[in-house]
Amino acid sequence: MSDISLIVLLPLLAAVLTAALPRQAAAIGTLATGLNAFLAANLGRQILHSGTVTEAIGDWTAPLGITFDANGLASVMLAMAAIVGLAVSLQAAAGPARAGFWPLWMATLGALNGLFLSSDLFNIYVAFEILGLAAVGLTALAGTRASLRAAFDYLTAGLVGSLLVLLGIALSYSVTGRVDMEAVAMLTQSDTGRIALALIAAGLVVKAALFPLHFWMPGAHSSAAPAASALLSALVVKGALYLVLRLSLEGGAGTEFLRNTLAVLGAGGMLWGAWNALRAERLKLLVAHSTVAQIGLIALAIGVAGNPLETGLWQAAALLMLSHALAKAAMFLAVGRIAEALGHDRISGLNREELRPGPAEFAFAIAAISLVGLPPTAGFIGKWFLIEGLIDKGGIHWIALILLGTALSAAYLSRVVSRCLRGGPHVSATARRPPWRTGDVAALGLATGALLLGLAAALPISLLETPFA
């Protein structure tokens, strides 16, 4: 049995089992995430060793059937989902049991794995449907009025996005007569094809919560439970960003206009998200707006990559996706713990006399360092690649924008970090330390991962450099 088949089917099987056996759900789910991580690592090793692995489902080759394409980019994305998934599972398994979390999370993982590996536009659309529905459930999981409202907005925005993507795929099927990835290069040859691509891209912009179509996202990500927020912010929006990147890679030089639009929207999102994060009063909302800004940065990186077949700039986008996933998941888990210890998540109330900073605050600080992009974190490597590539290419105005975005992100994150980690006379001598919880381990583990990934960046980079089939 091939690793590819197992990695797409195992989470779905686990989804069924966790739904059937709610009492054992945490054990089954954690086991499945562990196995998933093992499979992802194994697949990555295989790709490093012998290049892209392809598999025709049912031995029907494209365009009649659907093929899986395990290339370097897919492998990095699988690893991203696996690592974040491990930490979130750990946190969820130890935390209070929420009925319904595990089937939804396992379905999300299965959809993500299928999405990253699939080489077929329509198939990817179906995976998005699972992802979108499961994300609605994850948002509603908190059970509060606000989270239900946010889930409904999520559903509506997701449906609009799906409609646009589906319409684009239908149009591209009319133009090219096929829905496998080979169609993308053909689409860039005609006006009709480019309109089809634009429709798909518009749908993906809604799903990825890229400025200015991000309006539904901060509410959803900030009102969900911590484990769910981490999954939504770190992984679910990445599904759409991944497809944008993949389309850009498959389309070669033919999507100039779309890429420019993407870069401009990305820059807008980077600044708008940062501005809102600066003004946010609640910690979770600040982190959610920071996601808007980071998605903007990633979109900008995909947009400025130019013809991806010529420059390595697109690799910066992939690295930024990876580093954002680790840091943002760590941040949401840490915020969950901070809010739990404090009983609220108002930023103005983070200055406490009676409570010393704990591991969650520490994890938040490391994650913040990676998001800002200071060495030696993964975020630094991503931004380094991006700026270096832009210098070669002569995109000085983009560099200025990225630096402005970076300065703003440092500003809004230091609103939290400076309050959290303040010691000295502001903390009373009798202050206690918050006790360790599994949530701290998960958050700290992910933050450390973001840090270590910067030091071991050679691994994802060599994966990204494996030639596409």
């Binding site: 088949s5 049912g58 198939n123 179906v126 449907e129 459930g137 509603a140 149009l171």
Partner: protein, 296 residues
């Protein structure tokens, strides 16, 4: 036939307008139901009987039943008009989508590559109906993920826990009606399932019709809600995805290809998977109607 088609098209638009603007909610749902049937008829005229069947059974029938069920429970919408920005956004989106569809239909010349490929491979697929061959053989992976979509929908409903009151029997005429309809739906579902191999039909349509029969039975008051009924239904509902995943893995063990059915046995595999899916789809749709857990 031109006249007939124009009448259907105009009636579709009329029913849609009624569904949108009717003051009474029940009237709006009724208009929606009529529109679904008219759309199904249009699909038939466009030469897509499979889509027509699915539209009639799921788009009009079950969606209509779900809407009718919710129509009374949802509080009356406020009389406030939509904010202009929202209104404008929705209008622009609808215009763009309609425009794109219209433009595709009128201008874009469809590249017909895929049907030829399907016809060429059809003898090896195990079935004679090209739609079933695509859905359960050539692109079975899509269908597996679609079943996972149904699973996710059920999981979301289980999280949201909408309030589902106990279903009250519908009056004395419902029982004789159910007595006639239920055996018919079981027969029809079995027929559609089997027919899917060589003519329009298949698991989705069969499952929807089966669910319709079960709803008629519930409304007749002939069966009392039983304690383990919902648990059994939920088990049956998630069985579909489980069976499909296990079948996919088993096929790989036998042939070395994910979802690659053993040569010569493709029809048996497809029928077995579709039978499991029919039951699972029927149970899922029924659960959507009666709710995953009883609350008062």
């Amino acid at each position: 036939m031109m006249l007939f088609d124009s009448v259907i098209a105009a009636a579709c638009l009329g029913a849609a307008a009624m569904a949108l603007f009717a003051r009474d909610r029940i009237a709006a749902v009724a208009a929606f139901l009529v529109m679904g049937l008219l759309v199904a008829l249009s699909w038939l005229r466009l030469g897509a009987p499979d889509v027509a069947l699915a539209e009639a059974a799921i788009g009009a029938g079950l969606t209509g039943a779900l809407l009718l069920r919710s129509a009374r429970r949802v509080p009356k919408a406020s009389a406030k008009a939509l904010p202009p920005a929202q209104w404008l956004g929705a209008a622009l989106l609808s215009l763009a989508v309609s425009g794109a569809i219209l433009w595709t239909a009128l201008i874009v010349e469809t590249a017909a590559i895929y049907p030829a490929l399907v016809n060429e491979a059809l003898p090896e697929s195990g079935v004679e109906n090209p739609v079933t061959a695509v859905l359960l053989n050539f692109r079975a992976w899509d269908t597996l993920l679609e079943i996972a979509v149904l699973f996710a929908a059920l999981a979301v409903i289980a999280v949201v826990k909408p309030v589902h009151p106990r279903i009250a029997p519908l009056g004395p005429m419902m029982l004789p009606f159910a007595r006639v309809v239920l055996p018919l739906t079981i027969f029809l579902a079995g027929h559609l399932l089997w027919q899917g191999g060589h003519a329009p039909g298949g698991a989705f349509q069969a499952g929807a019709i089966l669910a319709g029969g079960a709803i008629a039975l519930g409304l007749s008051g002939m069966v009392r809600p039983i304690r383990w009924g919902r648990a059994a239904l939920a088990g049956l509902a998630i069985l579909g995805l489980g069976a499909f995943v296990v079948a996919a893995l088993a096929a790989e063990l036998l042939t070395g290809a994910l979802l690659g059915y053993p040569a010569g046995a493709a029809k048996a595999w497809i029928l077995a998977i579709e039978s499991a899916l029919t039951l699972s789809i029927a149970a899922t749709l029924l659960l959507l109607f009666i709710g995953p857990a009883e609350r008062h």
